[in-house]
Structure formats: C-alpha cells, structure tokens
Subunit: 336 residues, 2 copies
C-alpha cells in the first residue's frame, strides 16, 4: 500500500497578510525509513505568529526556503521508528511541519507525557505557548505582589496565560485585546482585573483609567503604537518581557516605531527579548507548575481548532486579522 | 559688603537647540544663611545632555520651573556654613546650578576627596560622568573578554570613558563620533580599535567592516537612526545599556524611532536604561577603580573648559552641535 504525504510548501514570500498563493499544496509518496528516522502521523499543528517571521527572515532559525514544507510545531503519533529514542505508538511533539506525516530524525522532538489533560490541550497549556508565558513573565517580568501587569494580545494563547499567571502572583492585570468578546472572556472567565478593547477605546486614556498606579510590567506581544502607549504609563524600574511584535509582522511599509524610547532611560526600564527554546533546561519546572495551577482551577486555556490540513493557510490568517482567541490549532488527523 | 549672586534662569522652554533667549541673566543680593544652609562659591559647572531634558520634561527629577535658576551639577568651595556636615573651605560637589554662589541646605552634596588629580578632573573621571560609564558598561553591559563593544557619542565625556573601560575588560571597542579629529583622538590616544565618523561614512557599512563578529554590547548615547543601525549588527543575547538618546533631545518633530525593534526579540537583546544616582551606594567602588585605572595610565579624559558663567548658554549648545569633545565644563571662579 502506498501512503501519500500531503503538505503545504512555501510558494512565495508573503507581502502583508499571507495569502493562499503564498502556499502550494503538494502530495508525495512516503519513502521507507532510513536508519535513525521516525515516521509520525501528525495530529495537531500549532499555528503561531512567529511562523510569519520564519517565512521572510533569518532569525534564531533560518527562514523557510521556497519550495520547502512550511515549518510549524505540533503533536503526532509515532507510526514507525528506526530511532531507539522513539517507539511506535509514542505521542511526540516537535517541528512536525505543515504536512500529514513527518519523516525524519525527530531532532528536538520529545514525548508528550500522559498527564490527564486532552491531547490538544498540551498546546494550550504547555509546549512553547505555556513555557513562553511562564518564563517571559516570571523570569524577565519578575512580578511582585501588588504590581500592575499589562498584557497585549491578551486573548491570544500566550497572553491569556501570562495574564492568569500574573493574577496567581498577586498582580493587578490589565489586558489589551481587539474585541468586546475577547475582553469579556479575559475578565469574566480568566479573572483579569480589566480589559481594553483597543479598537474602540483610546488606549492612552484607558491605560490611565485602568492603571491608576502606573504599569510595572508590560508583557509585549504587539509592538509599535501599543508599545508607545504603554511606555508612557510605565513606572520607574519597570520590566518589558518582549515576546512578540505581531502588529508589525505583516507590514509592507517600515514599522511605525514608538517615538518615546527615551522613557527606557529616564524610567530605567528593562526591555528584554526572549525565545522559549533558551529555557529548555527548565521546561520540566514550568510544566509542573502550569499543570498544578490548571488542576487547581487557576489557569484556563481556550483552543481554536480548525479541521483538516487543507485549512492551515486560511486558519493562519486568523492570527493577524483579530479573529483568533486562545490557542490556534489545525487538526490533521484523529487523536487515536 | 554686599555680595551679588549672578545666575542664569530658565526664561522659556526651548524648542530645538536651546537659544540665548531661553535663558535670562539675573543678579541678586546674597541673603544671610539660615540654620542648616551652606554658601558655596561655584568653581566648575558641569554641562550635560541630560540638562536639556530637564528643561522641558518631568523625569526622574521635576523639570526646571520657568524663572528658576537653571539646574546643573558642579564643584565649588564652601565659603560659609551653618550645616554641621560641611565646613568653610570644604570642596564639594552637587547641584550647584547655573550661578556664581549656591545657597541652600546642600542636599545631595558631597565632599570632593583629595586624590591628587586636578579639581576639574573630578568631573572628567569621577562624578556622574565616570560613574555613569562605569556602572552602565559593567553592570548592564557585563562585558566579557573578546566581545565587541560599540559606543556612540564616543568622544563625549561618558562615551570616551566607557570605551576605555571596555578595552580594560578585553573587548574590541568601536566608537561612533562626528568628526575625523574625534575619531583620531579615540583611536590614537584612547586605544579604541576603530572609529566611525557617522557624518562621512555609511554607518551600516562601517559597522559591518569594523565589527566582523557582530556587536555584543552597544553603549547607547544617541538613539534613533544610530540605534537602528547597531540593532542590525547585534549578536544574540547582546546588551544595550541605555545611557542617553542625545540625537532626539532637540527635536521639534517626533523622534524618528528605529523601525527594527523586533531584533530585541529574535536576538534576545536586553536594553536597559539607568540613571547614575541609582548606584549611589556603590560610588566608592567606582571611584577607587577609576582612579586606579587612571593612575595606571589606562584611563584618560579630556576637558573642554569654557571661561565665565556668562558663557554657559553658548557652551551648552556645543553638546548638541557636535563641537564638544570630552567633558564640557564652565569655569565660574578660580580654583583657589
């Protein structure tokens, strides 16, 4: 029996919001495994803003080559293994890419431990999402009880966790999001103290109202005008974990940068970027804490699951047009 | 005998480069000291880029009020004291302001210890200048042997010290300055490995040539386009001690901010502002080190001394028009 691998390759470097023609649908016959390789039936593909950066620019990873399978993380089931680290039946996570089957050495892959949460939830609570929120907020943000934390893209996968972790640490937490529904979700369900709909409210006025004692930590997911507005409200010795600048990823013109960076000096701010893989040695610590908080009912997640690998390009756009809430996934095949 | 105090007050909030009409020359009769006050005959007034910020904006200190004596640090001799912490004859430093006599409680003033260097040199080597270079580079920059350090405003008072301290710590040091004479001074006399005249060279091309291994530390004095150019050359996990953004202080239009702040994330940069007064508890440590390096011939300074308090407004402009090299001072009265 011949099994076909279906995949999305990168057909063109996107300008602005990625469009259908930037991807190409291809099918290919699966080849027998070579020594050291594993075959994974991909189940959930994670779609993340950083993927957009990988399409156009070398960063901490080389950009995706034209004609190459689009890169992305995900979860799958090992179907066949010629690698002693993995066995058929293992549930694994790693850079499975935008395809139905991953075939390769499984570099950077790890087994997903059974911890009594749904499989898809591993990407809502753990994985690069949970660890990004955990280390960015705790390691760089260093929240102290009673401080004010502002989170942008607060209804996104990372932002919604970062805000809740801020609440667990005793902060006043204010989220910035792009719809009333998102604002209601983070305040009513997740316990944020306040939310600002940046599309209908004046961000500067709203920040002043909701952060009467200024801002001690800004968990930065957006950049540009949002960063500028928050810089004005930062307190002395504030911290800015720089996780993403999603507002700038699809721009075809130069990014309109904040014109008040002098606040970094006069207020003695620390703005520090980070990539979750730098914390790999401490993932177990994060996993244990996140799971405990979740089991205690203090840490919730929302999944936005899109069905079928075919939907990946259109689902991907939801990260940038404001229509995504919580962790965006594509389900490629059944869990079992 | 009536003694008159002469002073410059702030007459208007400057727009762009401060002009003569932004200051007003006034004379007033000195009043007898009240209990707790000291009278200081001001000798050297320090002129610094930060003073420009104080003229228009509340920061870590309130902005100077209209009609108030222009604020500035300096050194003087106590002539009369009704404060038990100071005695007539003491040499002191503090916010003496732009006037011939300081009269007040001497809040924040300290005695200048006799260490065998010329009095004016205290502001070339120590004081807020030396300590700013010392703590900014060592505490935030955390230089390691073999790393590359870029310093902007490298022929300025702080920049010239920061670069030399970088050399002492084993870095490759590249300075950015605004004239060939400045570039020659920092490379020939101060031991910088290379210098870039940003007025005649393409900064991006020159940074690439002089920093073949990228940039690990950027000692930031300038901001805007200079920051943007250096961000492109920063290495992963680079540090940016943010000391000043002098290119932006006189702008009447919004600051043209760097449009590549995403490098902070993808390269995991740390950009951190600081104000030297935050390190007051460690000034003695810095003083001892700076003096030792100076005595060993490894740390030089240059003074730009302008004669007479009357010259203060015109001398002040030298900080912004590129004509100042080394520590800018106004001599108000003789040393003895």
């Amino acid at each position: 029996m011949t099994i076909m691998n279906k995949k999305w390759t990168l057909a063109a470097r996107p300008e602005g919001l990625p469009k259908a023609a930037d991807f190409e649908w291809r099918t290919e016959e699966l080849k027998p495994l070579e020594e050291g390789e594993i075959r994974v039936r991909n189940v959930y593909l994670s779609l993340d803003p950083a993927n957009r950066v990988w399409m156009v620019r070398d960063t901490y990873v080389p950009m995706v080559g034209l004609g190459e399978t689009m890169r992305g993380g995900g979860i799958g089931i090992v179907e066949e293994s010629r690698n002693s680290k993995f066995a058929a039946g293992d549930t694994v996570q790693g850079l499975i890419c935008w395809q139905t089957y991953y075939t390769g050495p499984g570099k950077g892959f790890s087994k997903v431990p059974p911890v009594g949460i749904p499989l898809a939830a591993h990407y809502g609570l753990f994985g690069h999402i949970g660890y990004t929120a955990y280390f960015g907020l705790l390691d760089i943000g260093a929240p102290k009880e009673g401080e004010t934390l502002v989170v942008s893209a607060a209804a996104g996968a990372v932002g919604s966790l970062a805000g809740q972790i801020g609440k667990i640490k005793g902060c006043r937490v204010v989220g910035i999001a792009g719809s009333d529904e998102k604002c209601q979700w983070i305040t009513r369900d997740l316990g944020f103290d306040a939310a600002i709909n940046y599309k209908t409210e004046d961000l500067r006025v709203a920040l002043k109202r909701h952060c009467p004692n200024g801002v001690d930590i800004y968990f930065e997911n957006v950049g540009a005008a949002t960063l500028e507005a928050v810089l004005n409200r930062m307190n002395n010795f504030g911290r800015i974990p720089a996780c993403g600048m999603v507002s700038t990823y699809n721009r075809t013109e130069p990014e309109p940068a904040p014109n008040n960076l002098f606040h970094i000096i006069t207020k003695r701010l620390k703005m520090q970027g980070f990539i979750v893989i730098d914390y790999a040695a401490r993932f177990e610590e994060a996993r244990a804490e996140l799971l405990r908080w979740h089991q205690e009912g203090r840490l919730q997640y929302r999944l936005d699951i899109n069905q079928g690998l075919e939907s990946a390009p259109s689902a991907f756009r939801k990260l940038f047009d404001g229509s995504n809430t919580g962790k965006l996934l594509v389900q490629i095949s059944p869990e079992t």
